[in-house]
């Protein structure tokens, strides 16, 4: 017994020495209920993404292949959605509005698409308009190739920057040794396009022989969080690592985020992928989680509804089924807090136009977090 405690202690010490991140991977639970979670949209299965229309309605994607419009407390199915490849983690995934939606009406969807010659599917990005309750003027802006029957890692978050450029993530589709480090192949990348699908001339790999020129950064595993930093205008992501080693990254043009050559994680089976956590020419994460929380969705809090949370980051956990609040100081995570414990897999989180936080939970629905008065 004594001996085992000693070994454990030694392990902890060595483990602490081996990681440069000074913060312990600990998550605390708040003592008081600072908000009440009110179920706003009920009976959703896997609400993968959602966004707010200017008229107060909410557009919601159900992974199984339904686009729902929630208005006046009623859900309505939107028709004429694209054909979706339903396999493993694939399905209808994210939904986002153009920053100038009020003027142009453009809606963007990401989904696993079976389009193409090969069997299987890969991530696609589509632009369309909503006419009453059907999608119109549909155009596929990007379709990753080649299709594969693998069930993993479609990525698929969509975000716009302050200049109305479109960014989206595509995971490495279960081919970690083939896709993420090869800029001639799709998958394991973050992409940047004009809002109509054209490739920006100053994209980092324009002019590189055979490169996929829509690529903005590479060496990713499976990013399921992608947001605009409200102050700096940077694009931030979170991504699933293997066992251990989920990450938060600031996305830079042309940068390599290392997967699978560097990682803080190991295989699900417990065997090692690489002993390297850093390499020259590869980016370090802003933060990494050990153990993995399986992050999905991400939001910065800027609203005056939660003054004490200003500048905090919210991230959903699929694995431990809670919403995580990360408190940052000078781009370092200094504290983590567990919100909404045991409610279900948190798939997406947004700060709404009204300043309230909305959280999509699998098997439940969309919750609105209302601060409790002190």
């Amino acid at each position: 017994m004594k001996k085992s405690i000693y070994y454990f202690y030694l392990f902890v010490v060595m483990h602490n020495l081996s990681i440069s991140q000074t913060l312990e991977n600990k998550v605390s639970e708040p003592k008081n209920d600072v908000f009440s979670a009110v179920l706003l949209v009920d009976e959703l299965e896997i609400p993968w993404g959602f966004t707010f229309l200017p008229n107060g309605a909410i557009l919601i994607t159900e992974k199984k292949g339904e686009l729902l419009l929630f208005k006046d407390n009623k859900k309505q199915k939107i028709g004429n959605i694209p054909k979706v490849y339903k396999r493993g983690q694939g399905g209808l995934l994210d939904v986002a509005l153009h920053p100038k939606f009020k003027e142009n009406g453009w809606i963007y969807l990401s989904y696993a698409s079976p389009e193409g010659e090969q069997k299987g599917g890969h991530t696609a990005i589509l632009r369309a308009k909503l006419k009453d309750t059907i999608l119109a003027e549909k155009k596929v802006l990007y379709k990753a190739t080649p299709n594969t029957t693998k069930g993993q890692h479609f990525g698929s978050r969509i975000v716009f920057d302050k200049n109305n450029y479109l960014y989206f993530s595509i995971g490495e589709r279960g081919a970690r040794d083939i896709n993420p480090q090869d800029i001639k192949r799709d998958g394991g990348k973050i992409y940047k396009l004009h809002d109509d699908g054209r490739i920006p001339e100053d994209n980092p790999f324009v002019g590189v022989d055979s490169a996929k020129t829509a690529i903005y950064s590479y060496g990713h595993r499976n990013p399921q969080g992608l947001i605009l930093h409200p102050i700096t205008g940077e694009i931030w992501n979170n991504e699933h690592g293997p066992r251990g080693g989920d990450e938060i990254n600031i996305i830079k043009k042309g940068a390599n985020y290392g997967w699978p050559l560097t990682t803080y994680g190991i295989n699900y089976s417990g065997t090692s992928i690489t002993d390297k956590t850093e390499m020259k020419g590869m980016e370090q994460p802003l933060y990494y989680w050990i153990p993995s929380i399986a992050p999905s969705g991400m939001a910065f809090i800027t609203s005056d509804k939660y003054p004490e949370w200003n500048g905090n980051l919210l991230v959903g956990s699929l694995k431990y089924q809670y919403l995580e609040r990360l408190i940052l100081e000078n781009n370092k995570v200094i504290r983590r807090e567990k919100l909404l414990p045991d409610l279900g897999k948190v798939r997406a989180v947004k700060q709404g136009p009204d300043g309230y936080i909305y959280v999509a939970v699998e098997g439940k629905g969309i919750y609105k977090l209302i601060p409790n008065s002190k």
């Binding site: 992974k63 339903k86 098997g363």
Partner: protein, 133 residues
Amino acid sequence: MKFIIIVFLFFIASNISFSQQESTLQESMLRGEEIYADFCVSCHLKKGKGFAKIYPPLAKSDYLLNNRTGSIKAILYGLQGEIVVNGKTYNNSMPSQGLEPEEVADVMNYILNTWENSSDKIVTPEEVSLVTE
């Protein structure tokens, strides 16, 4: 003498058919292992032990071993709501994985015959095709 030969032939024949069945099962389990690594392992984990109160175990799981058709149905069409596995209650949802009947048979054969689980009858794609929602 004739009788002995017949008995002998019978033995040979039954051994051949037995070993053929064995190798069919072994091949199916090998394919099933790949399906498991692709679609199942992130929740049910490598040794089929599941995770805390969220994902039920498959290893030595009474739900799986006593409920063959229900398990096939869950893999094909997903499973929602409360279930009891080895005396513990789980209330969660597993989405349909979009697998073909051959793949469902393979992964069933894998999970039914791994981690000390065993089943005396191989799952066939035909059996899977007959399971409706």
